[in-house]
Symmetry: C2
Subunit: 339 residues, 2 copies
Amino acid sequence: MGAASMVTSRDVARLAGVSQATVSRVLRGSGKVAPPTRAKVQAALGVTGYRPHAVARAMRTRRTGTIGVVVERVTNPFYPELLDALGVELERRGLRMILWDSARGPGERAAVDAIEQRLVDGIVFTTATAESSALRKAVERSSPVVLVNRVVEGLDCDQVESENEATSEAIARYFAKGGHRRVGLVSGPRAASTAQRRSLGFTRGVKEAGLRLAVEHIADGGFSHAGGHGALRRILATGRRAPTAVFCVNDLSALGALDAARALDVSVPDDLWVVGYDDIDTASWEAYQLTTACQPVPEMVHAAVDLLIERIESPARPGVHQRFPSDVIVRRSTAHVPF
Amino acid sequence: MGAASMVTSRDVARLAGVSQATVSRVLRGSGKVAPPTRAKVQAALGVTGYRPHAVARAMRTRRTGTIGVVVERVTNPFYPELLDALGVELERRGLRMILWDSARGPGERAAVDAIEQRLVDGIVFTTATAESSALRKAVERSSPVVLVNRVVEGLDCDQVESENEATSEAIARYFAKGGHRRVGLVSGPRAASTAQRRSLGFTRGVKEAGLRLAVEHIADGGFSHAGGHGALRRILATGRRAPTAVFCVNDLSALGALDAARALDVSVPDDLWVVGYDDIDTASWEAYQLTTACQPVPEMVHAAVDLLIERIESPARPGVHQRFPSDVIVRRSTAHVPF
């Protein structure tokens, strides 16, 4: 590469008239260097353009200053928003971010290996599932990991999520408050704790509020636009008297459901209420105006990074579970009934 | 960390009955090891669970196997789709991806430093602008970089883009073919080559086709939904006879324009045609059905990674410029006129 990378710390030491050990101390920010000496070394660093190799530095300090993040599909808009918040949070702390896609190839495995190989200091899992053997292995080895958004029951590690169950239960009560009797549910992937807990909370709320949720009115929306589209079509085609309000366990499937309603000429909210979960950007756009639960992503991410940094320092402390409340934002996909 | 990381290559060598140098040769995949010896070493590696530290390996080979990617706003859906394609392409070649956000803090600077610090072998810039001093410095130093999507005039480095000008020119001709006389333009950020070239191509096509584009009918949509929304409102509020067809230089602003039309009760495509650029997922959804130009992202990314790998091997060869044609996909935001 350029000429600058040919300079060594020996050249810096010679120019400053100090030992190489002193140059190292200045580079490490050690307090044991007298201010005039420090100034000479800094001048020499400026003149030579010497930069210690981060790789070599990582070898000595055994820290990389890099945090790995595992996501599943960057193209579900919730994850870019989560990544954006994670980027802000890590940068604020002077940490770099490295990204793995768990949907493709050996994403989780590669991330966990990266801790052992000292490419990263710890990992944030955003899409962990109970089936993840790589994650289990990392936890067994006390590797520093934190789960945010998704949780895995019975795993002793730090986990941060929103109040998925309580919020979804409240959405069922909201349907009852709006005068609905027959409701539907667009569920999500079995392996995703978010989908499971939201479905669970909603069905519990349905029971408590005395609403009707026929099994034919539950369909898997696969967390995707196409999936939500298909799920609503199946729900409305069952022959049974159709539900007048449908809860979708994420926004992407709720937007698909709204588009299916549009295609079928079902009027929202007059003939059908639709509620989602996540409050992605598109939920607020004119064409959709989706009523949805908003997770406090910046707060969740802040807590997760705090926990991960603590964990890197003290690998042995027991796992902590944190839950954050979600707010439901009422828009035009439900009628003028306050939540 | 775990017990496995306490094992050294000396233990592996002892167990296999070979020298440490032979273990290194096997780990490097060198051909100079006899198959039976290789088998013994591999068995010993399996038994001991020894993993060479990637950091230490990077020190020796001076390669990290990691490529840095600079993006601006992960929350513009075009970039997650581009990143997804980049992830596929890099993984196919056994490379890792590390991500920087150039919109926030020292993203580009940090990326360029990372090459020097040997944290990455090279950088893919997806949102480069002519103002990027970090990028210029990297090119001056012959650091391995490639630009994809955006280009910077007069910079001697590898650059890959789509035929932004020619495609946008063809969109103007398409408006003429559809019988339009007065057209509008929702432009984008001055610093983005994509916005500039698409605006330039469109205005050239407008002139050649004898259409009218009044200056009051050009408004900056800032590449965002809110920006496109505001831009269309300004264009339609000018008092002049309104345009009947508007080209938006990216999809996000075109979706905003469609939502503004919806809010103003302007019927699309009867009273107004809208065309975007990028073909993000949402463009095909029921609510929008946006006619738009589709860049061949997988091909562009493939070419960019090829160029970057070549560049890492031969830092001195002159910069190469590659352009890929875009297809226009006709949907319901324009009438039934084939492109």
